[in-house]
């Protein structure tokens, strides 16, 4: 009997377990999936927790509920991957052998990468919101916070869901307005990018949102250090931004096991060199990478993992049948962006095409407005939670084209 081993049972890993189980003969293939956490977190929901829109319990369910019964689910941390021997060693020393390895170990925020970020103010006046602990702690903080300088900072450009910090700024504006204390809060968005928006069409269509909402943007700010005593951010070129409450998006890295196994890119961030079209490892032909764990130049987002999964299932089947890997991922991403007060916008893009305005055809739902701010997009974002739990991670068909389509987009 041959063995497929999946590392990581998050969004990408769970989708792959479901798709592989459906596609392969269980008498010939044994599928094992490993994750250190028995709970599955609906990560897009983390954004809403600080503002009381979702409660912590809304975003957690047991992982086993979303994995096929015939898939062997092992709860353990991965200690080391030994691709030369087709082996994975778990924390307790036990050894798993594989014929095909799918790495879906994701990314983690690592505040320790930045001096002073995880210092004495951590979870007192400095919070992240991409972790369950961070977002629930921040929710408590906001309940009683009396105002001042709210600074949202991206410590790095390559981060999970690059639009989420922007959504956080928009939702914070609406939250404080609804609480009747917007005049007591300055919102500053501090980014290492050239602006809050960086793509020409998105900038043209959405930049005025920041002005309307009175959000100050400080671009080209690359965080070197957080001075806890003075409560300031310090950049590499010695600019400073003072804060009372810092919402930080720390440096993102790949899983420790990737770094410990020397499988990451040479930059030490732990993202795995991956063919950006086939999703095969650049080093080992029986190793495939999906989701946030890759180093491909696509967004680290659930929609990307979903479109990748549609490609990867084909390529893994081709691989085990000894055929060339013909399915090609085009970098497709599709994201709702919350803009506050029950409205949102929508972007759809890939490796080569920036987010464009127009209409996004959605079978059974009707066209959605691209780069438009409206209520329908917000309803789409909220409805997505149901789609995620009931369709997406269990690998059911979602009526959106895997490759980005130009239908409805306005190119000029």
């Amino acid at each position: 009997m041959k063995k497929i081993l999946i590392l990581g049972a998050g969004t990408a890993g769970s989708m792959m377990a479901n798709k592989l189980y459906k596609a392969l003969n269980p008498e010939l293939w044994k599928i094992t999936i490993v994750d250190k956490d028995e709970n599955h977190y609906y990560q897009p929901g983390y954004l809403f927790i600080p503002f009381g829109v979702y409660q912590p319990e809304d975003v957690v369910k047991p992982k086993k509920d979303f994995l096929p019964k015939g898939v062997n689910f092992v709860i353990s941390e991965v200690a080391k991957i030994k691709p030369e021997n087709n082996q994975v060693i778990l924390r307790d020393g036990s050894l798993l052998q594989y014929d095909v390895l799918v790495v879906a170990t994701g990314t983690v925020p690592v505040p320790e990468e930045t001096e002073g970020l995880k210092g004495e103010l951590w979870y007192k006046d400095i919070f992240d919101f991409y972790t369950f602990e961070g977002t629930t702690a921040l929710a408590k903080k906001l309940e009683t916070w009396e105002g001042g300088n709210l600074v949202i900072n991206l410590a790095e450009t390559i981060i999970k869901c690059p639009v989420a910090p922007l959504e956080f700024a928009f939702l914070a504006d609406a939250y404080f307005e609804e609480k009747g204390m917007r005049d007591k809060v300055n919102i500053t968005y501090v980014t290492p990018n050239s602006g809050a928006f960086t793509k020409p069409k998105a900038t043209a269509m959405l930049n005025q949102l920041l002005e309307e909402k009175n959000i100050t943007v400080i671009p080209d700010f690359y965080l070197m250090q957080v001075d806890n005593a003075r409560k300031v951010l310090v950049s590499y070129d010695e600019k400073e931004v003072p804060f009372d409450l810092l919402v930080s998006v720390p440096v993102n890295k790949g899983d420790k096991a990737i770094i410990n196994s020397n499988l990451g890119d040479e930059d030490g961030l732990g993202f795995i060199p991956t063919d950006k079209y086939t999703l095969q490892s650049k080093q080992f032909e029986n190793m495939f990478i999906i989701g946030d764990a890759t180093n491909v130049p696509a967004s680290k987002a659930g929609s990307v993992a979903h479109f990748e999964a549609e490609i990867l299932i084909e390529n893994i089947l081709s691989y085990i049948n000894g055929q060339p890997l013909e399915a090609k991922f085009d970098g497709h991403a599709n994201c709702f962006i919350e803009t506050g007060h029950g409205k949102a916008t929508l972007i759809d893009f890939n490796y080569d095409t920036e987010p464009l305005p127009g209409k996004f055809p959605f079978a059974g739902v009707g066209p959605m407005g691209l780069l438009k701010v409206n209520r329908a997009n917000h309803m789409g974002k909220l409805a997505f939670k149901w789609v995620y739990w009931h369709m997406l991670i269990t690998g059911k068909h979602i009526p959106i084209s895997t490759h980005m389509s130009m239908a409805g987009k306005i190119t000029d």
Partner: protein, 101 residues
């Protein structure tokens, strides 16, 4: 500037080369002059590294350049003051470093 005007090299509205294969060291020097930078061998080491990584399809960041072994982040700032990755990408003839929107 003469050479820029007289060639068929195309730039984006923000001044980034549309086709990285049209890049030459001379072009880099001319673009650098516009930014008030005189390119040294160290600058070119960074530019060539960026071009190589871009061809490999790697997503670039300041931290990555800092881990390249060529310069650390402080030195990168000294070479390309203001917005190091933005300016070095422009001079390397590769696309503007951008987020998804």
């Amino acid at each position: 500037m003469e050479t820029l005007v007289n060639t068929a090299i195309e730039f984006t509205a923000e001044g980034y080369l549309k086709n990285m294969d049209q890049w030459t060291p001379e072009l880099a020097r001319e673009l650098a002059a516009k930014e008030g930078i005189t390119l040294t061998d160290k600058h070119f080491e960074v530019l060539n590294w960026l071009r190589e990584k871009q061809k490999e399809g790697v997503q670039l960041s300041m931290r990555k350049v800092g881990a390249s072994g060529i310069v650390d982040i402080k030195q990168l700032y000294a070479l390309f003051p203001g917005g190091p990755l933005k300016i070095s990408s422009k001079l390397a003839g590769i696309p503007k470093p951008a987020s998804c929107v």
